[in-house]
């Protein structure tokens, strides 16, 4: 087997295209792979999402331009089990999932690594805006991307720690405009491709369609239920609590003197609880489904946590931590800390792990 053969996950977007190009330039033997993650038959023919069939064809064209092999792997079964089923189950529990975190932790790196090893690759690269580092004692880890506007470390807290030494993120030190410029110079067909925003398996943008398809017909998450004010009085009715997420304003009806938001979802009674903005504040957070790259933090330790994609990280103190449960106190109260969303934990710029928010 060749030394320094590296597998690049190519979605057909500009970021992973440039990732592959940079590694080719660095003299590595690069193998491009696109994962087919879900069934395309239901989606519009000209789906703009990264994982659509268009993506596979674009990735193939870029690979041809770069003169590297490109293969399509069918991970639909694994992706459905680890990402889509979890996504549906989380909404059914009244929580708001981060499917990209699940995909990174399982599909994108776990399943990819097995396939990479099967292809004789000794490393995996993706187009995430995050930096990897290795130090002499063999420790490897992840740092936020230099382009803070694009930084994607929030989505990577779930990676199996044993993978860290094998990962390469050539875009971590670049900005998005620099990446596009590289793509233009290399005349890659994906240079001007727009950003993908939606969840790849929800190309219509309305995840409730997917829930209706995958939940049992009269599932409580999709049945009408009460909207109550935090003070207890009935405000109205909704048509399924799975359509609501903490902090949401839309879909609550009008009639309030001040703006009202979803404060929490209570699946047991199918209740959506609403209230004024100050009721959204919390300063204590409980986190489950933990993953640590180099072991858990110490009780009393001061860390920084990021509680939402694109939110800044905030100082937090560890009140208690065991194998399955982390309790934090935030230095300043935060709005809309949402069960099901990720809590990514940082020391400075270094991502050290994280978990899923259980309660705030």
């Amino acid at each position: 087997m060749a030394a320094n053969r590296i597998l690049v996950a190519m979605s057909g977007g500009v970021d992973s295209s440039v990732t592959a190009a940079l590694l080719v330039k660095a003299g590595l033997e690069v193998v491009g792979v696109t994962m087919k993650t879900f069934c395309y038959q239901d989606t519009p023919a000209h789906s703009r999402t990264c994982c659509g069939l268009d993506g596979i064809l674009d990735a193939r064209r870029v690979a041809d331009t770069l003169g590297i092999p490109h293969y399509v792997f069918d991970v639909e079964k694994e992706f459905t089990r680890d990402v889509i089923d979890d996504f549906v189950a989380e909404y059914a529990r009244g929580r708001t999932p981060n499917p990209c975190v699940r995909c990174n932790a399982n599909t994108k790196f776990g399943d990819l690594l097995r396939r990479g090893r099967a292809l004789g690759c000794d490393g995996i690269a993706t187009g995430h805006y995050v930096r990897s580092f290795r130090v002499d004692d063999g420790r490897a880890g992840l740092l936020r991307g230099l382009d803070r506007a694009k930084d994607q470390s929030y989505f990577l807290w779930g990676l199996p720690p044993e993978l860290l030494p094998l990962l390469h993120f050539p875009l971590g030190a670049l900005t998005k405009p620099e990446v596009r410029e590289q793509a233009r110079q290399l005349e890659l067909v994906t240079a001007e491709k727009p950003e993908s925003q939606e969840i790849c398996f929800v190309p219509t943008g309305d995840y409730r369609d997917l829930l209706r398809k995958r939940l049992t017909p009269r599932h409580p998450a999709l049945e009408p239920g009460p909207i109550r004010h935090v003070d207890g009085h009935l405000v109205g009715e909704h048509n399924g609590y799975a359509g609501f997420t903490v902090g949401q304003r839309k879909g609550l009806g009008g009639g309030f003197a001040e703006p009202h938001y979803v404060i929490r979802v209570e699946p047991a009674t199918r209740t959506v609880v609403v209230g004024p903005q100050e009721a959204l504040n919390s300063s204590r957070v409980r986190v489950n489904d933990l993953n640590w790259f180099h072991g858990p933090p110490e009780p009393g330790e001061e860390l920084r946590v990021q509680l939402r994609h694109r939110a800044p990280d905030v100082p937090a103190r560890v009140d208690a931590v065991d194998a399955s449960d982390l309790q934090l106190t935030l230095a300043t109260p935060q709005l809309a800390v949402t069960p099901g969303q990720s809590c990514a934990v940082f020391r400075g710029d270094e991502l050290v792990g994280g978990g899923r928010i259980l309660a705030a």
């Binding site: 193998v31 092999p69 293969y71 792997f73 639909e76 099967a118 292809l119 993978l163």
Partner: protein, 398 residues
């Protein structure tokens, strides 16, 4: 190691004599065969000579040979051309085809259905035997009925040699069955010509499709042999070329290249049969030794010698062709026409059942005119080594 090409069932590289003949035509006879001037006459002479040579090699009348744009087009013209002709005469087309047809036939059959024809699929057992009576029952006709169909509105389309497994289907039996019930017969003979004796089959069927590319001829060339008296409607519209069945300026160089390729394949059939059989058997033996739980697809029946389809349990279906490509061995997971779609092969599902097809990664290794013994030997070692590596990667924790 130089890359080893073992995917002749997908595309067989041009024989040098084919390339030379085509170049000569491009240089000497560049005209349009329909033109009245000397260039046109020269082109027409070359085209008709090519038709006679193909007919001679196949043992059919020159008038039966229609040059078309590939094997898929030949299958489409046979099936849709037939069904539209039946429809035109005011009757309902009734089509039977086997469960292991190439997608060119299976998809054309769905089009027949979309145009209000009736289509039934007959099963093929893993030894290649066919069960036509079942499908006939579903067509609503008594299996015991032996009289001719009213007004010949039935067609049986049957693959001769499976493009995935090399399995040979009993065309003679199909022809007898069809004859007794008044059905016409179309045979997709793309993988059979040049490996088996086509003459007896061509003499007994109504429509026969072949592809030049699978015979080391030019791509985008195919032939439909249509027996005189078979009614067909064109599926493309334009000029009156090829008896009005295939409008468009003829590809004279392609037709000549096709003739050279068909002649070469037919002339060398016996020696190639012996040579390729020996190569395949040695590869099969080697793989069995190196991968003891290997399954040989098609081995319960008679097989053409150029295709070896093996199933490897316990590895993902889509991984081996890529892993082998990186080590310099070019093979496929199944029909190249299905690439891009992943998941179990419909052909193997039909032959062996869905569970087998879902859990056994297929590898189609296909040999051709320029395959050397040393390449087959080398490929065997690489396949064994790569399968071990893939199994290690999937058996171990992350």
């Amino acid at each position: 190691m130089d890359p080893i090409y073992l995917d002749h069932a997908a595309s067989s590289p041009l024989r040098p004599e084919v390339r030379a003949a085509m170049r000569e035509v491009e240089e000497r006879a560049p005209g349009n065969p329909s033109s009245p001037h000397r260039f046109g006459r020269e082109a027409r002479a070359r085209l008709e000579e090519a038709r006679r040579r193909v007919a001679g090699a196949l043992g059919v009348e020159p008038g039966a040979v229609v040059f078309v744009g590939g094997g898929t087009e030949s299958d489409n013209l046979a099936i849709l051309g037939w069904s539209r002709s039946v429809r035109r005469s005011g009757r309902r087309p009734r089509l039977l085809h086997s469960a292991i047809e190439h997608s060119a036939v299976a998809a054309a059959a769905r089009q027949v259905e979309a145009e209000d024809g009736q289509v039934e699929i007959f099963p093929v057992a893993s030894d290649g035997s066919v069960q036509l009576d079942q499908a006939l029952d579903r067509l609503g006709m008594d299996a015991a009925e032996t009289g001719p169909l009213e007004g010949r509105n039935g067609l049986v389309s049957c693959l001769w040699v499976s493009h995935e497994t090399g399995l040979i289907l009993p065309i003679r039996e199909v022809v007898e069955w069809a004859g007794a019930r008044g059905f016409q017969v179309h045979v997709d003979g793309v993988q059979g010509v040049g490996r088996l004796d086509a003459a007896p089959i061509l003499a007994s069927v109504d429509l026969f499709s072949l592809s030049a590319r699978k015979l080391a001829g030019p791509p985008r060339m195919g032939i439909l042999v249509a027996r005189a008296g078979v009614d067909l409607q064109p599926i493309l519209f334009g000029g009156g070329q090829e008896r009005g069945l295939r409008p468009g300026t003829e590809d004279v160089a392609g037709a000549v290249g096709t003739a050279v390729a068909v002649e070469a394949a037919v002339t060398r059939r016996d020696e190639e049969w012996a040579r390729l059989t020996a190569l395949r058997e040695s590869l099969e033996l080697r793989l069995r030794e190196g991968i003891p739980d290997l399954v040989i697809h098609g081995s319960q029946g008679e097989r053409a010698p150029h295709i070896l389809n093996v199933g490897i349990p316990g590895v993902p279906l889509d991984l081996l062709p890529g892993a082998l490509d990186l080590e310099g061995v070019a093979v496929s997971a199944g029909s190249a026409c299905q690439s891009g779609t992943t998941g179990p092969s419909p052909v193997l599902t039909a032959l062996y059942g869905g569970d087998h097809a879902r859990h056994t990664a297929p590898l189609r290794i296909s040999l051709g005119w320029n395959t050397r013994a040393s390449e087959v030997e080398e490929a065997g070692s690489v396949i064994i080594r790569v399968v071990e590596g893939v199994r290690r990667a999937f058996g171990a924790p992350l």
